[in-house]
């Protein structure tokens, strides 16, 4: 009887010792850990600062140069090569607005339609549907100048032969951002749980009634967010527009189908920025400020929309 009693006592002692060691460890953090943790956090912070530095530099430079040129005249006066103090962005602003209206008209139905086909109808076990999916992912990463060449070859000339008109530029930009819209819309549609579709089908709704009345309304916030982000991308694009006719120096308000040429904000900014005179430089900077404010407002609205209407299932 003494033997097991002694063993138990030894076990108790050992357990008490282990507990004391653990408790002591609670209070001391190894020095190496402290240094490594701090270093790592510092590196991460540095990454953020590098990312922000570019934007901050751009903002400071634009405001320093352009704040003197900021005035309501910017929005109302046409550009001028001779009188920089009277030059403005009016045709470019109108051109940009018309361009994005065209983009929205094209991209919303086609983008949602493509997303609905891929999510709701396509049989994913078929190789052609997988091929389409991979291609759309890739298209979103194609450089925008390639879309410019496409627009020039197929829309301005070639099969569509629209000529250098604003609508052709709009269509080119729409093709450029279409993959973005499709991807965003697909994600929004996929986020609608299957239980909603089943609930609707179990009531005797057809597939189309289910999509129209349940799936689409539930995914509208996500789709709208994607469309806004795509439009703000289209608004800032310059390269494809240079190829499809937005290079003309216009002093009149452009119309969608006029062959007289059109302009857009980023192109006009480029136009002013390449001139040697100080006044035009300031004008370009003012244009950049206007663009940044508009883009920031649009992206903020997209984020607000997403957070406000995001459905938590």
């Amino acid at each position: 009887m003494a033997e097991p009693g002694a063993a138990a006592a030894r076990n108790r002692l050992a357990a008490a010792g282990a507990r004391a060691t653990t408790l002591a460890m609670l209070r001391e953090q190894p020095r190496g850990d402290v240094i490594r943790n701090t270093l790592f956090a510092g590196l991460l912070l540095l990454s953020v600062l590098i990312a922000l530095a570019g934007l901050v530099a751009l903002l400071i430079q634009a405001f320093a140069k352009g704040s003197s040129a900021l005035s309501p005249d910017l929005f109302t006066n046409p550009p001028s090569t001779a009188f920089p103090e009277r030059a403005g962005f009016r045709p470019a602003i109108i051109g940009s607005l018309e361009l994005i209206v065209g983009v929205i008209l094209f991209v919303v139905p086609v983008g949602i339609g493509a997303a609905l086909y891929l999510e709701e109808y396509a049989d994913k076990t078929r190789w052609w549907n997988r091929l389409i999916e991979v291609n759309i992912q890739n298209l979103a990463a194609v450089p925008s100048i390639i879309y410019g060449i496409l627009g020039l070859a197929f829309i301005v000339r070639g099969p569509l032969d629209l000529g250098f008109i604003l609508a052709a530029g709009s269509l080119t930009l729409a093709l450029l951002v279409l993959p973005m819209v499709i991807i965003a819309a697909r994600e929004a549609i996929r986020a609608v749980p299957d239980s909603i579709r089943q609930g609707s089908l179990a009531l005797g709704a057809t597939k189309w009634q289910t999509i129209r009345s349940q799936v689409l309304p539930a995914s509208v916030p996500g789709i709208a967010t994607g469309v806004i982000l795509a439009v703000s991308r289209a608004l800032g694009e310059t390269a494809p527009l240079l190829l499809v006719g937005a290079t003309v120096f216009v002093t009149f308000d452009p119309t969608p189908f006029s062959p007289d040429g059109y302009s857009a904000m980023p192109v006009q900014i480029f136009n002013y920025a390449v001139r040697p005179q100080e006044e035009f430089q300031a004008l370009a900077a003012a244009g950049i400020i206007v663009m940044l404010v508009v883009l920031l407002a649009m992206n903020s609205f997209a984020i607000w929309l997403r957070n406000r209407y995001e459905q938590r299932w």
């Binding site: 089908l201 009531l203 005797g204």
Partner: protein
């Protein structure tokens, strides 16, 4: 006798109306019997197999579901209760690779006949799911969805109220019909799903473990509701909860998992189907007794 006669008339009329809406021609020779045997059959399953991608999930199920009964399907997990239930309103059609073999008659007519449209079938045979799945819309729009897709837009308010009263939810929500359905409690959401289902005016309601996500009080309300609803509808309920089957059902089918000789594949098979009281007090099969007495899970 007079009451039997009148009930027979309404039942027949209801059946014919239901069949006409589904595009199913009623067989002239199919007539329900009078008296006790007039317990009209809603479903007749004859040797039903359900296969997913060629692999059987349930095999050789034969049973009759009677009008105005609550029929319970019980059995352990994986015995194919839900699979069997989803055959009855052709929800399995939505699963790629699903296949139903055997004969499944609905009011005497082949439910899987070549001219039967599954969309019409689901208007007659409603379904309530395991997890409440209200639409992300207002309470009113949830209930009105069914009548709207059926094109019944007159007296929509009255139809919504009738359905909500039928689901014992009206008093709780009548002042906030325009609120989002997601604001309701789980039990209320499930009753809303029942209201949504009966607003379509089906003749049968399938319930797939409707209380498994609910607390005991909400469960009690739904069970009371089932007993109320069976006056008007036929109900088939899948439940994991034997006590629930004993409390609410008139007839109970017990399914079990069966393994093949080398235990490589498994499927569900019907062990016993009888009046609920008999299943729980004096079952014919010892496996049923083991299950309902809790000896096996």
């Amino acid at each position: 006798m007079a009451t039997d006669e009148s009930r027979f008339e309404t039942a027949r009329e209801a059946r014919e109306a239901a069949a006409a809406r589904a595009g199913i021609a009623v067989r002239p020779e199919f007539q329900p019997n009078s008296g006790l045997a007039a317990r009209e059959k809603v479903f007749e399953l004859k040797g039903i197999d359900v296969l997913y991608n060629g692999v059987a999930a349930v095999k050789d199920i034969s049973l009759d579901v009677h009008r105005n009964d609550v029929t319970a399907l019980i059995g352990p997990s994986g015995c194919g209760k839900s699979t069997l239930l989803r055959c009855l309103n052709r929800m399995n059609d939505l699963i790629p690779g699903a296949e139903v073999r055997g004969e499944l008659l609905y009011h005497g007519e082949d439910l899987y006949g070549p001219t039967v449209d599954p969309v019409q079938v689901r208007k007659l045979i409603g379904m309530v799911f395991q997890k409440p799945n209200p639409f992300p819309k207002s309470i009113y729009d949830n209930v009105a969805f069914g009548p709207r897709i059926l094109g019944r837009k007159d007296n929509l308010d009255a139809a919504v109220e009738r359905a909500l009263r039928g689901a014992a939810l009206w008093e709780e929500v009548k002042d906030r019909l325009s609120d989002n359905a997601f604001g309701l409690s789980g039990g209320q959401q499930q009753r809303l799903c029942i209201a949504r289902c009966i607003a379509v005016e089906p003749d049968t309601i399938l319930m797939d473990e409707p209380c498994s996500a609910l607390d005991p009080i909400s469960t009690g309300k739904i069970e009371d509701l089932m007993i109320e609803l069976k006056k008007e509808f036929s109900i088939v309920i899948v439940t994991h909860n034997m006590q629930q089957a004993a409390r609410v059902s008139d007839r109970t089918a017990f399914l079990m998992v069966e393994l093949d000789a080398d235990e490589q594949s498994r499927w569900g098979r019907l062990v016993e189907y009888d009046e609920t009281e008999r299943i729980f007090t004096n079952p014919a099969d010892s496996r049923t007794e083991d299950y309902v007495s809790g000896k096996v899970g």
